[in-house]
Symmetry: D2
Amino acid sequence: ADPLVIGGHAFTSRFILGSGKYSLALIKAAVENAGAQMITVALRRANTGGRENILDYIPPGVTLLPNTSGARTAEEAVKIARFARELCSGNFVKIEVIRDSKYLLPDNSETIKATEILAKEGFIVMPYMFPDLNAARDLANAGAACIMPLASPIGSNRGLCARDFIRILLDEMDLPVIIDAGIGKPSQACEVMEMGAAAVMANTAIATAGDIPAMAEAFKNAIEAGRKAYLAGLGRVLEKTGSASSPLTGFLHEDKNGGMHE
Amino acid sequence: ADPLVIGGHAFTSRFILGSGKYSLALIKAAVENAGAQMITVALRRANTGGRENILDYIPPGVTLLPNTSGARTAEEAVKIARFARELCSGNFVKIEVIRDSKYLLPDNSETIKATEILAKEGFIVMPYMFPDLNAARDLANAGAACIMPLASPIGSNRGLCARDFIRILLDEMDLPVIIDAGIGKPSQACEVMEMGAAAVMANTAIATAGDIPAMAEAFKNAIEAGRKAYLAGLGRVLEKTGSASSPLTGFLHEDKNGGMHE
Amino acid sequence: ADPLVIGGHAFTSRFILGSGKYSLALIKAAVENAGAQMITVALRRANTGGRENILDYIPPGVTLLPNTSGARTAEEAVKIARFARELCSGNFVKIEVIRDSKYLLPDNSETIKATEILAKEGFIVMPYMFPDLNAARDLANAGAACIMPLASPIGSNRGLCARDFIRILLDEMDLPVIIDAGIGKPSQACEVMEMGAAAVMANTAIATAGDIPAMAEAFKNAIEAGRKAYLAGLGRVLEKTGSASSPLTGFLHEDKNGGMHE
Amino acid sequence: ADPLVIGGHAFTSRFILGSGKYSLALIKAAVENAGAQMITVALRRANTGGRENILDYIPPGVTLLPNTSGARTAEEAVKIARFARELCSGNFVKIEVIRDSKYLLPDNSETIKATEILAKEGFIVMPYMFPDLNAARDLANAGAACIMPLASPIGSNRGLCARDFIRILLDEMDLPVIIDAGIGKPSQACEVMEMGAAAVMANTAIATAGDIPAMAEAFKNAIEAGRKAYLAGLGRVLEKTGSASSPLTGFLHEDKNGGMHE
């Protein structure tokens, strides 16, 4: 009824789960409790030689979203993406090009280049980006299937650090805007959905929680709540005063006979 | 498994619905979609003579919480509470004493007095209050069954305007802390639940939404999400840097034979 | 030209310096660099027996503002105030009634009682308070010469934690509103002055700075800046878009002859 | 003693005044009250044919900073910069490349290209930019003399919309970071200076004030306050509790003889 469509594929879930940070044993529980239909996977996790294979933990029907984690240039991202397509046999790819190892901020310029090349090769390109409107437009022109701006630095759990610039992306872009990186609490996921985000991706927020499957479920509920609220239409905000919700005039007075009347 | 207990009564829902602002026809839908087990009612709404009666719209099993809306002093609140007990045949009462008609801020001093009198008379007193720790302690000493601090002015939908002072109440008070007034969006309800609130009361946020039953459901989901996250334990927040969630070192290089290796 | 008037006394400085936290040797420098004309003093500091006496460090012409620090009830505050009047030979007194030793939040209820008693005895009463409009009105009715709401817990340097409720006080109260406690940076002092505060009191922000006299001067500049901006009238804020400040249309094109034209 | 050095030129003022928005008659007053030593000028304003000429209103000793306002590509910016050098006979140029007419956000990618070309031609390039660390590093590599990230959209007076990302620039970049665009109040200018910004540029905040010369002076004071506070070292912030600034223990008790003792 309200599907998320990316590159022509429809999803009923608006939660994308990152797999980078937990033990494999917990991934299955998280996927199930979160109702995720798409899960990211770094190439090294997908293909771990003799070791446990993440693919064994992904329930059937879940779309794998290989990312280009580790790429520092467009060229490297392209190379990883091509290899991932062979390995995961799908066209989805999440572009991550990160030069900076302290804040792990995406390099918009290299990301745009990689997007252009890969979109032409038939990939469904989902680029991780710094929330800059001009770069978002360049990504759209380059053939991106959505944009994935960060809320705050990856893994920080700090939430929406540039709310106004995310709002500009939501207002101006026709592509789905998926908030990726930095969302640390269900309430933050809920808020970006209320603002009109198409989906939320989270990993660290769940991986660092005390109870991982429970937090996965909390994110699921919160994202659904935010989406419903967005569709229902939020009420107006009064900047200064209040507004009575119960009748304030005419409280009751006791009459001489002990009864109450207004 | 995780009941909300107020005055010895256990509830499974942590959402309290205000009834002041919608047409009666919508209340039933809202109660049902919100899963609320407690709903406030102003005396005039409860007893509207020949007109429609709100009580006809409340599903069975829902606890009525009459409020003292309209009271400007402790004395008036006490009078209304006593009358409400007769009318609604229950011991719950929400104390509202409001002198100020612009911001509708509760008068803590009169509220404490009313609480003391009514608690002694066997009421389960739920006082609406300004989020002041000293007043909260006085309310506890006066016999309140919980405290109901405002997030922002009633009906404003402005959210958590004094987050740090609400946090102090959550950290210091043993009584259930129910956030009442000003919560305007599901994400805000979710956040206060993550912080440890016992429950959330909302009215205007739902009444002013585009689709009232859908917004009621969004609040339900968000409150459940926030409670789950609180119980699961939120992850740590990094104040400055990021933290890699996928492996960043060792991206893949193509070897001479066209294969990928680290 | 723009004096701060409290209890009929006019001051040209809108900075009130707290003296509780530094070595006496630094107080003089701070007072001078801050241009303060009023400085608080706790009774024990004023009268230290054989030890150094703070009064020796206060430049002539500076008004002493004894506070009732240590009082836990109205009665104790009244007692300290009366004693302070004898010792400091002035009518100013800052009422502090604090029951809570963790957050040091003022007890509005006891503060109102002490204010009423002391105002009748001819004191110029400056009450430290929690920023609650109803309590502020009670303080005004009790004879306070100003109100001194906290920005955040004393000594926290956390800034304006309840901005919206401070704004309500500024909008509604006719008495001077002096922001006291929690202001941690010059920018925060500047902001409350822009909002219309009459003055700012600071202590810890300066006492915990790396260079105390320099920070005192920074506060002086910032408070003056905020006052000027308030009087000048702040410009409007655009909630969503931008607005060109330089001409954007008609950039220059080179013509065939190498000249520039629009 | 604490000069701002840009491209080998030292300034004692850390306030850069934009000239785009006021009547020429007010510019002189603003420059004088703001103590600005550098003022931006759009080419069309500098050279208005028979009409009034902004250059007549700039006091001697003030450095003109021509901007490339109106440029939509690197090529256009380069062209305007070259023409400006002839007209204003100086090497300073502020690069503005703006494709987007609603939010007026700078195009980092084109700005980097223009910076590289103009730096090689001996310009002192001051690029207006979106606050993205990767782009800032590219600008430094391209030869920028400083970086000028926006606080929020030009002309919005909305203040610091991406505080955390500005902080990253301040922490990571060796070049002077000058906050440009969106600063709407003196307190906001003060805050960015406390964070370590090298200077602040403002235009609309002053042009839209009720009293332009007074607001210019307020900005001057606030920027000086922020710089002093940065150099002095801000005190620590307590995240939860308070900390007594006056002695709280040992309030005074009256003894039998009416004297006070602890």
